[in-house]
């Protein structure tokens, strides 16, 4: 065989409960198919070689890495992306807990984290912290240090162990996420003058003064130097890093 057959292949699959048919190049991976062809950009691509887990989706109800799964190989399957969990109770609770426990910062890993976390809830309803950490080890997060994510998953597991509380837990967590809009009467016409009348420039800058001094280090560049001293021993500082509510309130 020397000739390379570049014919597109016809595939038919169910994506988020919708029947989809398409002609795809065999080398097109599932994540690119979802993002570029179906515009389901909630699936994120990090490493594109199966390491980071950001592109995790459900394929026939099991989490897989969509960057090393080819779309052509998914003919006849059922795919569920992060966009497909609107009516899923587990996912609703996870979303609320991720928010409450600061389980995300930049959000890049979050779709994969949520889908993997939901799989943990279903497969390992008794998982303890160590198990949750092991199970999440295939999903990389570069912001949170994982603590918030682990707390969020454990929070959902905890709620599930107290079914009498689960409903109210879901309700309050979801409510905390979806505060009702309060109507108000805005300043009418000239927005900027209205601002000027209520907030002073000093209040906006919160006491800091703007340093506009030109740096001499490099022509045309502004050199900014900043630093602060924490008057505590390193051990205490590391302990503070474990205290998410404290950190988040900073």
């Amino acid at each position: 065989m020397t000739e390379l057959n570049l014919d597109r292949k016809s595939i038919s699959l169910v994506v988020n409960d919708r029947q989809v048919t398409a002609q795809v190049e065999p080398r097109l991976h599932l994540a690119d198919f979802l993002r570029d062809h179906l515009r389901l950009t909630g699936t994120h691509l990090g490493c594109e070689h199966g390491v980071c887990g950001a592109c995790t989706v459900l394929l026939d109800d099991a989490p897989v890495r969509s960057c090393i799964t080819y779309a052509v190989a998914c003919d006849g399957t059922k795919v569920q992306t992060i966009e497909g969990f609107e009516k899923d109770e587990d996912m609703a609770l996870l979303r609320a807990m991720f928010s409450r426990e600061h389980g995300l910062q930049c959000g890049f890993c979050t779709p994969g984290m949520l889908i993997t976390s939901r799989d943990i809830l279903r497969r390992l309803p008794q998982a303890d912290e160590r198990r949750v950490r092991v199970e999440l080890s295939g999903n990389l997060c570069r912001c949170t240090g994982y603590k918030g994510i682990v707390s969020a998953v454990l929070g959902v597991i905890e709620a599930a162990h107290h079914p009498e509380n689960k409903k109210s837990e879901v309700a309050s967590a979801v409510a905390a996420n979806h505060q009702e809009f309060t109507t108000f009467t805005p300043y009418a016409a000239n927005f900027s003058s209205a601002i000027a009348s209520t907030v002073s420039p000093e209040q906006l800058s919160e006491g800091a003064s703007l340093d506009t001094a030109e740096s001499t280090a490099r022509k045309g560049w502004t050199h900014v130097e900043d630093g602060f001293v924490i008057s505590l021993p390193p051990d205490r500082v590391w302990l503070a890093f474990l205290d998410l509510p404290l950190l988040a309130s900073c």
Binding site: C67, T69, V72
Partner: protein, 277 residues
Amino acid sequence: MKSSSFDYLRAREVPEALTALAQGGSDAKLLAGGQSLGPMLNLRLARPKLLIDVSRIAALKTIEEKPHSWSIGAAVTHAKMEDAKSTFHGAMMLGEVAAGIAYRGIRNRGTIGGSLAHADPAADWPLALATLAAVIHLRNAAGQTRLVPADDFATTAFTTRLAEDEMIESVSVPKISSAGRYGYFKFCRKTGEFAEASAAVVFDPEHRTARIFMGALSGAPRALHQLAEAIAQHGRSAVTSDAIATAVRHADPNLDSVDVHLHATVVRRAIERAMVS
């Protein structure tokens, strides 16, 4: 991170896959779970012109218990074996090893046959199956079958005794007797990463089997036969740091002192697990 172009064929039966493989020659590659081949394609370390998908061939996806062994189809996923963990009577190590491979997202796709054929020195199945004295069933396009012992299957890193027109059909794993013991240990810098050192141990007095292998070397897993024999005969008194380090050095003379220390520690931990299991 996009693969170069390839053609794709989803095989429904083993003969269909083998015919396509024979026709494709070195331009064709079998695709099972794709959890190693996928990254290699995306990184363009592999550029086959044809991928033959065998992951949906029903005959390759069965797990069967026989009187003295377990027969595992080549396209059985690690996750399926992880979930069957408690049912592997006489071969509990299979479920434990499966559960420790990479991450669930990988285990849901990756297969035992794919792992053996890929023959990554740091992978779990080549080491575990060599230690369990498993036998690999191969078939070619002419319908000929042959059996290769798992401890003689990989010849070196990423290289096996598979002929160009052959594929793995299944693996037979002999059962350990109720008096048998096993231990498996691997050292990974991060959970789920490829191992930097790994070892597997089986002692079965009823079958008079004593096997210790170490993996994550520069080539295929290596046997530590003399150490295994000494421990079988003398028990705990044969498990000394010196004896283990000597065995490790003997099995792979290319290891430097840091590697010897790491591998010897991992071998010791696998032995300890077998001693208390």
